[in-house]
Amino acid sequence: MIWLNPVAWIGLAALGIPLAIHLLSRRDARVQRFPTLRFLGVSRLTPVRRTRISDLVLLVVRMAIVVAAVAALAQPRWHTAARTRADAGRVARAIVVDTSASMRRAVGATNALDSARGAARVIAAQSFVSRMIETAAPGRAIAGASAWLDAQSGARELVLVSDFQRGAVDSSDVAAIPTSVGVRAVRIVPVAVPADLRVAGAGGDLIARMTPTPELTTVNWRAAPPTAPREDVVRVIAAPRDRARADAALRAARSAVSWPADGGPVTIVYVGAAERAALLRDARRVDAAWMGDALARIRGDALLGSAAASATLVAGATRDTAFVSLGRSADAWPTAFAARTVIDGRPTLTLFALVDPGSLASSALMAAAARAVSATPPAEEVDPEFVSDAELARWQRAAGPQGTPARAGTEPDSDGRWFWIVALALLAAEFVLRRARAIPGAGEIAR
């Protein structure tokens, strides 16, 4: 048997109450009319000794009432075979599904992400209660998942479904998971398919075909005709007076990164642009998976992070906290915030910039956006490094032990009612005993 609310045992201190009553209080002696007190006077009159416990039976019954009531409040729960079987599935799980770019690789006839979602659904079905969190940055989602699990009762487990490429989740992320929560890592192993990485050159492009395997990655280079980068992958909307500075920043961004040939579209709208107000009015939260991925990459862009730290905001910049913030200046203002808009009939990831169009932060924002929406995965994703199986094994631990005490009041199948029944029966017995002792001569007859 376990106790779901062991704190209630503090109530045993109340055992002192009936004991004190028996020891300290002078029990109201019953009055017995008697023909004469002559011979009682001759007898040695002994006053009631307060240190002597009288009526042990009644005292024991009263103390048993207290014990039964406290036991009921402590919410006992007997472990039967049926309950043990039921408890096996009584696990609350937060399932974090990695949706980063590496999860788009093929796994058989499908891709890693679909396989991950399928595995997550199976795990959710086996859970008492579950919550699925899809994110391109599973490491950052662990805190939210742990917070959700903390509000659940019973055994709890955090499941990470990912290919566990380095950078998705690391040991520090796992260490932040409370020790009372189990950890399970479900690795989705994508088929190693070659990936082409195009590098633009002055005389033409070079394509590196990278074929990763668990042990090494093979790279085969070939030349390719140059391809023109798409201009509309990242669009910039600025006020006419800022147009020149914006273009300069865009040129600087294009020189720093390989401009994507596809992907997006992403639009960066600066303060003062005529279209800004209308776009803001129609802006919605990001709801497409590619937009979420892009935002995750942009937020993790190191160049943007360092540029934002020294950025200053333009006059008239206002922050809309309803949308995702990007970059953070020294005074904790974002460099931009992201929303979904519809431009030219197409859902567009729109970044409402708060910095000067010609600033370093603006250029970094453009470069980060271009890298983020590129269909070509970054090199680190073409030649990924994965968390080893041994390290994954160290991360994992079982869900909270069976019968982990649930919060008081949330565990529906406590057996405390039986102790309440016992307490009521003892209460009835106490009443009967007390009445019997109140009747003159009854229960007191010494034969």
């Binding site: 009319r33 009288s54 001569g441 010494a446």
Partner: protein, 305 residues
């Protein structure tokens, strides 16, 4: 073999006369008669005067008619007067439930009155209620018996009683030597009561002391903390009954033994009647004992010279 009415049955009989009659019928079935035998002289016959006869027994009328001297001879008879002195103090109202000592005493008194009247003797009763003496003078006859029993039935025990005074007054009501039967628990004025009874016996009266007790008084079946309340004075005393029970029982036994011892020493007939014993059986035992003691003097024919 007659079966005695249990105390519970007797207690359930509201009519005192009926209860007494049932007891008496049971006694009669056993051949028991009035236990009290007084002495009085009754003219039996004449005989010729002899020198030395007491002249007060000389029949002068016969001398006048016959001119001869004759002395009267008398025969002692059993006709006598009995005064029942009934304790009506509050201590006789114990216990509260069941057959109380007073009810038991009333049945004993009524039964004795029944027996006495049936033998042609006279019976009266003396009581004291709220400090005032009340009595029914000793007479015979059925109408008087019923009136006496009705009087006793109307009594209720309360307050205290002055036993020596009641006994003395009852004795005064006996015009000649008779019988005084005190029915009480004799808790009050033990010494004074004993002295009065002794005085009554010394004056030639036949004195009987019927002491009534309840089994709770002798057994003291109490335990734990009990607050005892004196039925007469109202005084309360809180004691640990379990601890003091043995001492109480010893003291009670000593008291009863003292009562019997002193009574016998003073020539007073004594009987201890417990309310858990059927009245008929208690009286039967008493009659047997008394009959055995007085067998040699029963209805003796004495020639008074």
């Amino acid at each position: 073999m007659t079966s005695s009415l249990s105390p519970a049955v007797v207690a359930a009989i509201d009519d005192l006369e009926l209860a007494a009659r049932l007891v008496v019928e049971g006694l009669r079935a056993g051949g028991h008669r009035s236990p009290f035998h007084g002495y009085s002289a009754e003219f039996q016959q004449h005989r010729a005067y002899q020198a030395g006869d007491d002249l007060k027994y000389l029949d002068w009328k016969l001398l006048a008619r016959t001119d001869r001297l004759y002395s009267k001879q008398y025969r002692e008879t059993t006709s006598m007067s009995v005064m029942l002195v009934l304790d009506t103090s509050a201590s006789m109202a114990f216990p509260d439930s069941g057959l109380s000592k007073f009810r038991y005493a009333s049945i004993v008194a009524a039964s004795l009155a029944y027996l006495i009247v049936a033998q042609g003797d006279a019976v009266g009763v003396m009581t004291m209620n709220a400090g005032r003496l009340g009595y029914v003078p000793a007479r015979g006859g059925r109408p008087h018996l019923r009136s006496l029993i009705a009087h006793v039935d109307r009594l209720a025990p309360r307050g205290a009683w002055d036993a020596p005074r009641a006994i003395a007054r009852a004795t005064e009501l006996l015009k000649r030597r008779g019988v005084v039967v005190a029915i009480s628990d004799f808790y009050d004025d033990e010494d004074a009561t004993r002295r009065e009874l002794r005085r009554v016996a010394s004056r030639g009266h036949d004195v009987a002391m019927l002491q009534i007790v309840a089994p709770e008084e002798t057994g003291f079946p109490y335990g734990g903390d009990v607050q005892f309340e004196d039925l007469e004075s109202g005084e309360r005393r809180l004691i640990d009954a379990r601890v003091t029970g043995a001492a109480y029982r010893d003291a009670m036994r000593a008291f009863l033994a003292r009562c019997e011892r002193e009574a016998r020493r003073d020539g007073i007939d004594y009987a201890l009647l417990s309310t858990d014993s059927p009245p008929e059986r208690a009286l039967r035992d008493y009659l047997l004992r008394r009959g055995a003691r007085s067998a040699s003097g029963h209805a003796a024919l004495r020639t008074l010279k």
